[in-house]
Each structure stands twice: as C-alpha cells, then as structure tokens.
Assembly symmetry: C2
Homo-oligomer: 499 residues x 2
C-alpha cells in the first residue's frame, strides 16, 4: 500500500462519512491510482509556476507534453469562446468544474463523480460530530436524486421513504440541475429542524410531499439479536453499512453470540448500501476457508487479483444471509461470497446490482474525483453489475410493506378514481379488509372496507377517507410493519437455518 498518510486519513474519514451521510453507495479501495494522481498533481504545479526556470530542453519536453494533450487545446478554445461570448457573465470556476463533470459524464458511470472544494469541506467539518440529517442513502440515477435506502431507524425510514424514490424538491425548491452533493447539502440540516421532500415514486403518478424531522443519524452499523425456533437458538447480526468500525464490531458481536451457544446465524444486509471494501473482506474472513477466494478484483486490462482468508474451516453452525433490493455493493460481495464460496442460502429478494470499486482521488485543491477503478467479481468470477444477485430462497415482505404515505386533501369517496385511492386500497388489504379492487376505482366494496375499518378504529363510520381515517390507516399499517411476526423474510431466514 503506497498511500501517503494524509490521503489515508482523508479517505477513511470520508468513507465513514459517506457511508453514514446518506450520499454514497460504493466501496473504497486502498491501492493503486493515487500514486499516479499525486504525480500529476505535482506536474501541474511545475507547469504553472516554474516554466521560466526550465532549460530549453525541458521547455521542449514540456511542449511535447502539451501536444500530447493537444486535444485539450480544443477544451481551452471552447472555454474562451464561452467565457467571452455567452449572454451572461460566466463563472470561470463553474466552467472548470463543468468540464470535469462533463468528462466524468462520458463514462456513463453514476459512481464516478466530482465533489467540489466546498462540498468536501462541509463533509469534512461534519466528520467529528454525530451526523445530523434525515438518514437516507442517495444516488444519482438518470440525473435524478434517488433514494437507494433509508438508514435503519432514521427519520427517513420512519417517514416512509423507499428505495427508488426520486427527490424532486427540497422545501419547495427544485433540485434539478444540482449535483448529488449539492442536493444532499440541501436535505441535510440540524437535528430538530424539518424538511419537506417532494418525491416522485415509481408507479405513482402524482408527486408525494413528505415531511421529515431531522435527527442524529446513528453511526452504529452492527446490531445483534437472537431468536429461538423449535428450541434452537439463532443469532442475528444486522449490518447497516460497512464503515470504519464495522468489522471490529462484527467480530465482537459474533464472538459474543458464539460464546452464548448460538446454533445458527442470520446475517442481515437488507437495505445496506455498502461501504468499505476492506471491511467486508475482514468479515468474510471469519467464514470462508482459504481454498477459495473471498473476492476478486479486475482492473482495466482484465488482470485479476484474488483475495484469500487464512481460515482453515467453515463455522460449525448453519448460516443464512438476508438481503433485498436495497443491498448494494459491499453487501453484495458478502451475499455472493457466502453463497458461492460458503454454500450458504441467500434469503429475500434480488439485490441492487453494483459491481464496481471506487477510489476518492484528491485533486490537490480540496476537491475530489471519486472514480471507478475496478470491477469486483464473485469467487467464481461472475460480475453482478446492473444484474444483482438472485436469492436462493425468494421471499417478499407482505405487500403493505410497499404502500405509500397517505396524502389527503379532499376526502376520497365512492366513484372516485385515482392513484391515491389505489394506495388506500392496498392499505386496507394489508389490514385484512377486502376493498374489492386495488386499481384506484373507489367501488362499493371499497366503501364497505372503509366502513369496516372505521368501525374497528372507533372513528365515525362514513365510508369516505378523510384526513382522520387516512391517519388511522397509516398508523395501523406502521404498527403492522413493526410487528416481528410480519417480517416474513426474517422468519424464513431463521427457518431455513434449521432445515
């Protein structure tokens, strides 16, 4: 590892922050690349300041270098044309950053991004303290700020944000044209303050407005639990992201469960957007013997590096991995390797599908390019990018896990017909009342189901859904979602352990 200490510190700090700050899915990889970058950094300084002191030979060499980048002359020409002629005054710094972002855009890789100095500084400032915000991992998908996953227990999760929600506005201001980091800075804010997000949700035609009260976002990434089924004791470790301390916390949690005599283990990476590449390796070393690679990394030239553990034997107890559509990147390394090299079952739904490794490359002026340097491949050499990993035991949550927050202006009633009625019908269904149809047409059956719910909830029986009824419906569903027995995926994962 050839990294200079200051870069390591920066990367580590960044990685933690980016993992927790709800702005980054990806894994950091600490090798290669940076060394070259720091040379190019020095090289730039030399040209800008010291040309006069060069010998004639060196000057010629410099010019040769320049003509090697003769293509960039065209960029300079365009820069001059725009800057001198555009109808409005042009901010030169914006042009430069636009040029860099424009180059990154040609890669068609949403994980290769530019972060300007101000964004980086603000990120750095919040490293020391507990992070405050709404707690959602976001990514840029088709130029939209898109929720990858809300962090467990965060305000974002409580408010009902869902993977693939697209954020249109923050407090009434459009985020169009902002880059990911600018948008994140709009969304973040001090604990206790409120932010309103306008959300475009796939399958819902009208935008939703969701109010979220910001809070401290916990930096713990490992949660432990136990369940007993047919007299057998299962340990459960949930990993919410892979950050600086995750593997240490994981080792500790695992040891405690083993000491307590656990007979099977569920590793839950549902909604885990990824994090440090080194971290997931450390965790996998506990489980995967040294006869198979933990993971492979492939560079541009197709050359593969394989990573191995020093473990001699598999654990004496059965293991399952729980995953869903929010499990990305490092979570997918964990899932794929546990399955291919460990032979363990994967329970849940298909994972997100991110098969690349990024490196944060400082530009020397405080800004950073995060660039995709490698593909990671499964132990058997598969690349799961944009495909995801299929579970070996497919289980979806009950459909009411996927309903939307209720949003009512005028009461909904018989013969109404729109998307929001559809959502109400799904909620009613989730609560055991049959609305007759779930396509948004408020039929007589839907009316009867609403009446039955209103009777049960002890509110006026009107057959219409007003704000009160909507609120009660939402409350009832949240109660259901939080009930342990309704987590079908977890139940299945434990069940599979002891089959």
């Amino acid at each position: 590892m050839n990294l200079k200490p200051r870069y390591v510190a920066l990367l580590m700090a960044l990685a933690v922050l980016l993992g927790a700050a709800g702005s980054y899915i990806g894994i950091e990889y600490f090798a290669g690349g940076v060394q070259e970058e720091s040379q190019s950094d020095q090289y730039a300084d030399k040209n800008a300041e010291n040309f006069g002191s060069l010998s004639e030979e060196e000057q010629k060499e410099f010019l040769k270098d320049m003509s090697g980048n003769a293509d960039l002359k065209k960029v300079e020409q365009a820069y001059n044309v725009i800057q001198e002629n555009y109808v409005e005054e042009v901010d030169k710094k914006n042009l430069v950053e636009g040029a860099i972002q424009g180059m990154l855009d040609t890669l068609e890789d949403p994980y290769s991004v530019y972060m300007d100095k101000e964004t980086m500084e603000q990120f750095n400032q919040s490293i020391e303290s507990t992070f405050q915000g709404i707690g959602a991992e976001v990514s840029m998908v088709n130029d939209k700020v898109t929720i990858v996953a809300p962090i467990k227990g965060s305000p974002a999760e409580k408010a009902g944000l869902k993977p693939n929600d697209q954020i249109l506005k923050v407090d009434g201001e459009s985020v169009e044209g902002l880059d990911l980091y600018e948008a994140v800075l709009e969304i973040r804010g001090e604990k206790g303050t409120e932010v309103t997000l306008e959300i475009d949700r796939p399958g819902v035609s009208d935008p939703l407005n969701i109010n979220i009260t910001r809070d401290d976002i916990p930096l713990e990434t490992v949660y432990t639990d136990t369940k007993t089924i047919d007299g057998k004791k299962a340990g459960i470790i949930e990993i919410t992201s892979f950050s600086e301390k995750t593997s240490d916390e994981f080792h500790e949690a695992l040891k405690k469960l083993e000491d307590d005599g656990m007979e099977g283990l569920v590793i839950d990476v549902r909604g885990n957007p990824g994090g440090l590449f080194t971290d997931v390796q450390e965790i996998l070393k506990e489980f995967i013997p040294d006869d198979q690679p933990i993971v492979q990394v492939e560079d541009r030239s197709g050359e593969k590096s394989r990573y191995f553990s020093e473990t001699k034997e598999k654990k004496p107890y059965p293991i399952t991995v729980l995953m869903d559509e929010g499990s990305a990147s490092a979570s997918e390394i964990l899932a794929a390797t546990m399955q291919e090299a460990g032979g363990y079952d994967l329970v849940g739904t298909k994972s997100f599908g991110k098969g690349t490794v990024q490196q944060a490359i400082p530009m020397g002026d405080g800004s950073t390019i995060k660039l995709t340097l490698y593909k990671w491949l499964t132990p058997e050499g598969n690349w799961i990018h944009e495909k995801g990993i299929q579970p070996t035991v497919k289980v979806k949550q009950p459909s009411y896990f996927y309903t939307n927050p209720v949003d009512i202006e005028d009461p909904f009633k018989y013969n109404d017909n729109h998307e929001k009625v559809k959502n109400i019908q799904q909620l009613l269904k989730g609560l055991g009342h049959d609305p007759g149809r779930t396509d948004g047409y408020y039929s007589k059956e839907t009316e009867a189901a609403v009446e039955a719910f209103q009777k049960e909830a002890d509110i006026p029986v009107t057959g219409e859904v007003d704000e009160e009824t909507g609120g009660k419906l939402e409350e009832a569903i949240i109660t259901e979602v939080r009930k342990e027995e309704n987590d079908r995926q977890m139940q299945k994962a434990v069940e599979v352990l002891f089959q």
Copy 2:
C-alpha cells in the same frame, strides 16, 4: 457584418438545415462573436504547431496566456486521472467533447449546445438534397429529447406526435445519454423506411409506441390561402419556419394577395419553432413603420441595439397573428412586434417562450458550438424568455385536437380502469358521444357511448374497444381534426379581422 464568406455559407446552410431537419429551435444572428472566435481558432493552431518558431518574448507571452487559464490545469489533471485510471479504456475524444458539453451544461441554457464533427458532417452532407426524416422539431428539455413541434404535413404530424412529447427509445434503443444531435441522427433516415419511437407524453403514465414512415421533409416554409367571410376576402399566410428563402417567399405571397385585393391578413405561425433572425426582421419591415423598433437585442453588458424598418405607413388592411404553444423564437418576435409596435391582435394560445439568440461558432475541426449570445427584447423592451407571449384573443382548439394515438393490446371493457380508457373517453367526447366520465373508469355510460359509435361506424356493436374500434375512432378523429370548420383558432383569427 464582419463575417468571412465561408462562415456565412456554413451558417446559412446550417440554419436552413437546422430549421428544417427537426433538430433546432432558435434564431441565428449574423453579427459579432464570430470574429473573436476565428481569432481564437487561429490562436489555437499557433500554439499547437508553431511554438518552436516563436521568439523568447512570444514564448513568455504564450506562458502568460497559459497561466491566465491556470484553472484549466485542473481540467488537464482530471483528464489524466480519468484517462489513466478508469476501469474501462477511455476514448480521449469523448473526454474532450464531454468537457466541452460539461462547460455548456453549467450555463443551464438548453440552446447552448456542442455538435461534434461527425454530426456536423452528416448535417452538411444532407444540405444539398431534400431532407429525409420524420419532420419534427426537437429540443433537449431536462435531459430528455423533447418534441417542440412536428413540421406541418410531415410524417411526425400525421403519426400524432405532439409538442412536449419526450422520446425515450428509437427502434427499441434507449436514447438516454445521447445528446440532441446523436438522438436526431438515430431518428432520421431514408424515405420509406420505418422508425418506432417510444414516447413519454405528459399526463399519460404508460409510454406510447408510435410507428412513423420517414419521408421527404418539404423545405417550403410559406403557404398561402384565402377565406371569404361576410363577403370580405381574407388572405392567410402560414409560415412554418424562418429559413433562408422564407422572407422572399413571404414578400411574393403578400404581393400576390394584395394584388388580388385582399381586405385583411392572417399570419399563422402556429407550431413554427423559429429560425433565422434576419428573416423575421425582413418580414416585419413590411408592416412596422420606422417610428418604433422592430426588435431589440441586448448583449451581456446590457447594451441594447434597436432595429428599425424604413417603412413609413402601416398596411391599409387589418392583420391578426395566429400562434400557439409551438410558436417559438423568431415566431415570437413576429407575434410580439406585431402586437406591441403594430397594435394587431394575437389569436390562439400562449407561445413557447424562447427569448435568446444563438450563434453557430465553428471550432476549426468541423465541430461547432452553438452558443447563446444575446437576448432579444420586444419593441417595448420586454423579455419573454420562459414566459411566452399571451394572446390578446385566447382560443384553444377543440379538446380532441389534444388526444393521443390509440394503443390497444387486450380490448378495453366495462369496469376497466386506466389511462388508455381516459384517452378513448376523450375521443368519444370529441365525436359527440357522451362517455359519462373522462377519468379512465370504463363505466356503463362509456359502454353505451362505444356502442353508439360502433353502430354509427357500421362495425360489430360489442361495447368493448378492440383494435378495430380503436382504429375507427382514431380515423374519425383525424377526419374531424382535418375539417376546416373545426380549426376554431383560424376561424377566430379571420373573424377578429373584420370586427
């Protein structure tokens, strides 16, 4: 006008092509800017090739210029980092073009765009011949290829493309990530060949597939007609875009109508996306006396140039201008000036709202930057950009002018509930059958309306909308749309003339 002849030729040719090729809304402006550009062009060549022959003084001067662009060193650094480290081989040319596009993107001006050499060459090649394609003016709006207006009589219009339609796929291939010109090249093709566009239409949740057979796109831009109302003879001149020959054709058409004793004139610029700035000025000189400006142009520093005619008197007959949401740029200059400086009525709906002037700036290697150089202001100094111009007499077409092509897989029937039913209900309504509701719920009333239509159309009376019924509905609506008496806007425009 300081332009070198070769630039004029290129610009003129380009303007015609861009006006007609369905790829550009905007007006070209032949003054300023280019002179500076051509210097910067030469300047770039000098640096790349002749540095060795410079004197020491000149070399120092060169370096000073370089450090003036020290910011661009960062672009170079990023270029090197990306090019050397990205996980895939990187095309250097793509990076350079990405950088230029990225700089243009920071302007947040959809009319400032980069066209690469290949795109330009293909455009140039098709200048000589009749243009072949689908005939739709498109623009990039929120990163989507968006229809501004189909050209009159073109396959695009016949197939039912509408302003604000977003093109998602061309022949099954996504256009995401393509720039406007790349997308246009996918859509264009030889006469007689077929292309399938997948369209996202505002207010329609499922994408529509529209098949279009490419054809020769007519380059005529001026069409003449006459109408007699209460014994009075109105001349009608429709301008479909402002290209090289438009003003000559207009003068000729106007003279003929005047010689024939017309008593009033309607100028129809509905769906006209704009074109040459000089052209609309030539047309306005016919009508606007020399005591008021035809148009004003404002540069970056706020300095205004006013353009005047040499006309002494207004025409002796009344005039109205017909416009709609597809009237953009040069069409809006015409409308605004006829209203403000001429006092003539504007009939129709609010115009598009494009108040800027672009210049095509050749980069020396065959590629071009089209850059916004000026705002144009109305005679009274108003800037209508992103606002549009309000009609003085507001008239919308009947609502069935705004229906969508019918797209049926399984027949629609009683109790169905979706967007496509909504469209069928609007078609039925347009044909005088009352479907009871138009929200997409296939009610008993809708069924009765379908039966009535089927009886009328002499097809099996099933009360369901299958492919045959859908086809007949569409046919019937197209017949209605083409009937002269249903063009409410035109009727109003003629009526207003003689009030």
